[in-house]
């Protein structure tokens, strides 16, 4: 069964360092998303991406965050200068069609710990 894969599964970094989280969405999907879950809190939408550009972003997704689809398969989330409060589980997702007529498929998450 096709699945969304994320790497790394866990990353520990020092505050101020840059982090890149990688995702390989399902191959025929067109829409890509990042969500995050701070420990003990809700899963929150960060950003959606379609046709090589951001289609929507939340207020959480400030200038320190960026997303990119550098090739035909990877979808990355970059955090330029990590803060302690960026520690969270980051989920990548993809879907085949726009809006909620298509199911969101989530990866297993990348746990980021900022020290």
């Amino acid at each position: 069964e096709p699945e969304v894969t994320q790497t790394p599964s866990h990353q520990v970094t020092q505050m101020g360092q840059e982090v890149i989280l990688r995702c390989v969405p399902i191959s025929n999907h067109l829409y890509f998303y990042w969500y995050r879950q701070i420990l003990g809190q809700k899963v929150e939408f960060l950003v959606s991406f379609y046709n090589n550009e951001i289609s929507e972003k939340s207020e959480i997704f400030d200038d320190q965050f960026s997303v990119e689809r550098p090739d035909g398969s990877n979808f990355t989330l970059k955090i330029r200068s990590t803060k302690l409060e960026d520690s969270a589980m980051y989920f990548c997702a993809s879907s085949e069609v726009r809006g909620n007529t298509g199911e969101l498929f989530f990866g297993e998450g990348s746990r980021l710990t900022v020290l």
């Binding site: 699945e3 969304v4 899963v43 939408f45 997702a93 909620n100 199911e103 998450g109």
Partner: protein
Amino acid sequence: AQSVTQPDIHITVSEGASLELRCNYSYGATPYLFWYVQSPGQGLQLLLKYFSGDTLVQGIKGFEAEFKRSQSSFNLRKPSVHWSDAAEYFCAVGPRSGGYNKLIFGAGTRLAVHP
């Protein structure tokens, strides 16, 4: 404000017992409704979804959920719980138009199953 409330943070049931997980939402209009499950070390897996039509929807793994518009609820049920159902369950809502699947999640309910 748009929100999803899952009143029960943690539920423990005996194997074979019935289960109901509660979900209430606050949204401008009737949204699309989802239940996701997250097993330890796994990603978010879609259990079931409600878009329209019959308000009782069937999902995978023997789960069902009932949409009650008057109560703004979408409770998840299972008649007989299996030990493998131990996981965290998330209720989520999304817009009926546009939104690129910008889901709003509840805080989750962690289910423990006693043998």
